[in-house]
């Protein structure tokens, strides 16, 4: 009986095993074929999404907030600044920033900059188009709402300030090392500022207007900035800027009038382990000197008056953030203070001598999103004069703002 069973068992193995092996082989072949097809499909899909040399990036920022003054309690802002960055190749870059902002209930659209950069060498870039003028540090580096520690710009800086903001022209810029000393540099030619001759509005005679197009004369304004990093960790940057050019309109009485802009800036950022904090210090002094000229007298426009057309503005701000402590809430807090002044020519209808102190507490939601709470104390030595256009908000004010970079 046992022998019969063994015979049947052996015969079964003999008869069925090759067929099972054949079946497994067929199944494996099918699976390999399926895998090959899947790999081929993935290859095709990957090829379809393969990155080219050109790369596009949409960035930008937005901000809005609440403003409380003696006269108003209002939500303000609603600005949105998309930034388009297009890397055409390893050497060619296009960048542009638009500004959408609510102004007096209407939507204002502005072109902050739109320019092309070509990398000439490891240390030199050619830039052409409309760009942020490398004058000081606030406009080119600190003006975006998510970078600026306060809801507003310092006195004298901004679209109607004495400090140039953006212009059209060409620029050579870059960074390099002199031994172990790092430097950066910029030299440019732009249309330049335009001098208001006071013919349309005598009260504005002598004001320099920036970023007005087209140019009002054939002369181009030449400028530059040189920055030094005295410390090897690049924590301190010292900069000097200058611009010089004709500002009077061609074929006018002021066609030979020139203006000199100059600025000195400082940036110091340092981790302070003893305080578990990061200290950020920024400062800038800006001055403007316009050649002597005569402007219509606002009291009697048939007469002409003259004054020393020199203006200056400076600011210093400090912020400290306990970013190195463990508590998540406190390490996202930042305390900031800013002092800024603006002096415009004595004797001009637009004369102003103003000082502002801003005190703020910020809360960083992430590395580029923050809530700003600040209080401004404003004082002016020339109460009787016309308020300048540099800032629509006069007097003391409390702000709550949010800003988001993306």
């Amino acid at each position: 009986m046992k022998v019969q069973f063994l015979i049947y068992f052996s015969m079964s193995i003999f008869l069925f095993s090759p067929r099972q092996a054949d079946a497994q082989e067929v199944q494996s072949t099918d699976e390999i074929q399926k895998l090959r097809e899947q790999i081929e499909q993935l290859k095709n899909e990957s090829a379809a999404h393969k990155q080219g040399t050109s790369k596009f990036l949409l960035r930008g920022y937005a901000h809005s907030g609440l403003q409380v003054t003696d006269e108003s309690f209002s939500f303000i802002g609603g600005a949105f600044n998309p930034i388009f960055i297009y890397k055409q190749s390893d050497r060619l870059l296009f960048e542009s920033e638009l500004e959408f902002e609510l102004e007096d209930g209407n939507l204002g659209i502005g072109l902050e900059y739109a320019n092309m950069s070509y990398l000439l060498s490891k240390n030199l870039t050619l830039r052409a188009g409309k760009f942020l003028v490398p004058f000081g540090i606030f406009v080119p580096n600190l003006h975006p709402a998510w970078i600026n520690r306060f809801p507003t710009a310092p006195l004298g800086v901004g679209h109607d300030g004495i400090v140039p903001s953006n212009d059209i022209g060409v620029e050579l810029r870059g960074g390099s090392y002199l031994g172990n000393l790092k430097i950066n540099y910029s030299v440019y030619a732009v249309n330049g500022s335009q001098l208001n001759d006071g013919q349309e509005d005598a009260e504005e005679g002598g004001i320099l207007h920036h970023a007005v197009f087209p140019d009002n004369n054939r002369g181009k304004t030449i400028g530059g900035r040189l920055g030094f990093f005295p410390f090897s960790n690049s924590s301190l940057e010292l900069g000097v800027s200058g611009m010089y050019g004709t500002v009077g309109a061609k074929s006018s009485k002021l066609e030979d009038i020139n203006a000199l802009h100059y600025a000195f800036d400082l940036s110091f950022v340092k981790s302070l382990p003893s305080l578990s904090s990061v200290l950020d210090l920024k400062a800038q002094y800006s001055g403007t000197k316009v050649d002597e000229a005569a402007y219509p007298d606002p009291e009697d426009p048939t007469n002409f008056v003259t004054f020393d057309n020199n203006s200056s503005a400076w600011f210093a701000q400090v912020s400290i953030r306990p970013a190195l402590i463990d508590n998540k809430f406190f390490r996202n807090l930042e305390f900031a203070a800013r002092y800024s002044t603006l002096k415009t020519p004595e004797g001009a209808a637009w004369e102003v001598d103003e000082t502002q102190i801003d005190l703020g507490v910020n809360y960083w939601i992430d590395w580029r999103t923050l809530l700003k709470f600040s209080y401004r104390i404003s004082s002016s030595a020339e109460e009787d004069h016309v308020e300048p256009e540099h800032d629509e908000i006069a007097g003391n004010a409390f702000f709550v703002h949010w800003a988001l970079g993306f």
Binding site: N141, I183, Y185
Partner: protein, 89 residues
């Protein structure tokens, strides 16, 4: 006017002398710094340092080129920073 023009010319000559010297000078500090160190030092000068996870590798290529021009980074600095960001991404 002439003084200003001479001064402008002098500044331009000095600047481009710096550029030439900078191209040929060897900086031990620049060579020794890692991408992470350069990322921290250069970004923090104006804004908080971004997380490497913020963008894809391709997006970092465009973002760092943008910042190379904006922050006047050297080619070596930009290369080290973008390599660090991609590695840590």
């Amino acid at each position: 006017m002439k003084k200003i023009q001479i001064l402008s010319f002098f500044i331009i000559v000095v600047v481009f002398s710096f550029i030439y010297t900078g191209c040929s000078a060897r900086s031990n500090i620049a060579t020794a710094k890692s991408g992470a160190q350069l990322w921290g030092e250069n970004c923090l000068r104006c804004h908080n340092t971004p997380s490497p996870k913020t963008f894809s590798d391709a997006e970092w290529d465009a973002a760092v080129l943008h910042m190379r021009v904006r922050a006047n980074l050297t080619a070596s600095e930009a290369t080290k920073i973008v390599e660090f960001l991609k590695t840590a991404n």
